[in-house]
Amino acid sequence: MTTIKVHGSPLSTATMRVTATLYEKQIEFEFVDINLRNGDHKKEPFISLNPFGQVPAFEDGDLKLFESRAITQYIDHEYGDKGTKLTISDSKKKAIMGLWSEVESHHFDQVATKLVWELGFKPLFEIPLDTKIVEENEAKLDSILNVYEKRLSESKYLGGESFTLVDLHHLPCLHYLMKSQIKKLFESRPYVSAWVADITARPAWSKVIAMIPI
């Protein structure tokens, strides 16, 4: 019996970050589906798990966590010897990995989540696009990907020479962006394009996608 519970939505990018990590580490978990349309994430019992009312929330025994990147790091730390190694041991290389983790969190994600909302979710809910937001964020993403192209020409993965949480944290937004007009920004850059193809082909990632209801 597993001690791990993930409370979230299979469609949510932040939830997918956590399930991807659990699949990579080959750890069993119970998934508690939170109905976002009903607003269940803003009510009890969910609110006691995350007072900010955002999915996912996570339990491992009596440890309760929220914030997807804190959860993924906990999983990788606690279950270090299981499944894929998602971090780097050498202290200086780990610092570089930490740097690119912040880049994803502060630069990439700020822009990508706005584009995912506009181009991935609004059409599902039949809400009209805000073309100004799309244009502004497409331009910002273009600049960020210039930096990524240079980095990936020097390093096989974003965090270093191996696949780590840094790359994994990008996967959920990439899933939506690569189905939209934004994919051209990735496909036009050889190193970025190869990196996207590589990380999205991972078997653990396909298990995360399989959770999304059609």
Partner: protein, 220 residues
């Protein structure tokens, strides 16, 4: 060779890194970057940080940017010196520190920074503070501070009854925020206020606070 921090004494992100270095009693040199002359947007600085932002840390052959990556590295490297900012011996405590550091990064900072900008930076550009921006972000901050008030009524600091990187990450931006008319949002919440008075009185912060001025005290 001593560590170098490239940045500015009044920058919130630079001081976040410096406070951490002082907590760990690490000698370092602050190398000023002339952002007013756009030095941070040109080589050679751009070779250190391709995003053209301060601070940058140099430790021998290691170059790091992103202030929270810098503080993580420093806290880890010098974990046996000074306060245990990352709770490295206890995975659960360590994960709670990471969680509240993420909260600062994703909730607190995005609400507080635009308010600081409107009161401190906009006047330098000859603009009045934008009331809509301020009000919108005060609404967001209210939600965050209510969560903090509830949490800090159960533990002395954010991650537990121990001072950590999660608390440290808040100091620089809160210092400026407390000089704006919005400071009442912190003062009217007893536990948040007590927490702020505690963390801002730490000697490590006192070593950097003197440099944290935009010259606002010189304005009439």
């Amino acid at each position: 060779m001593a560590l170098k921090i490239y940045g500015l004494a009044m920058s919130t992100n630079t001081t976040r890194a410096m406070i951490c270095l002082h907590e760990k009693e690490v000698d370092f040199e602050l190398v000023p970057v002339n952002v007013f002359a756009s030095e941070h947007k040109l080589p050679p600085f751009l070779n250190k940080n391709p995003f053209g932002l301060i601070p940058v840390l140099e430790d021998d052959d290691l170059t790091l940017f992103e202030s929270r990556a810098i503080t993580s590295y420093v806290a880890e490297k010098f974990k046996e010196i000074g306060p245990d900012l990352i709770r490295h011996k206890d995975i659960k405590e360590a994960s709670l520190v990471k969680m509240w550091t993420e909260v600062e990064s994703h909730y607190y900072d995005p609400a507080v920074s635009p308010i600081i900008y409107e009161y401190f930076v906009a006047p330098f550009q000859g603009q009045e503070p934008n009331k809509t921006v301020i009000e919108t972000n005060m609404e967001k901050l209210k939600i965050v501070l209510d969560v903090y008030e509830a949490k800090l009524s159960t533990t002395k600091y954010l991650a537990g009854d121990f001072y950590s990187l999660a608390d440290l990450s808040h100091i620089s931006e809160t210092h400026y925020f407390m000089q704006t008319p919005c400071a009442s949002m912190i003062n009217e919440r007893i536990h948040v206020k007590a927490w702020w008075e505690d963390i801002s009185s730490r000697p490590a912060f006192q070593k950097v606070v003197g440099g944290m001025t935009f010259g606002q005290n010189d304005q009439k």
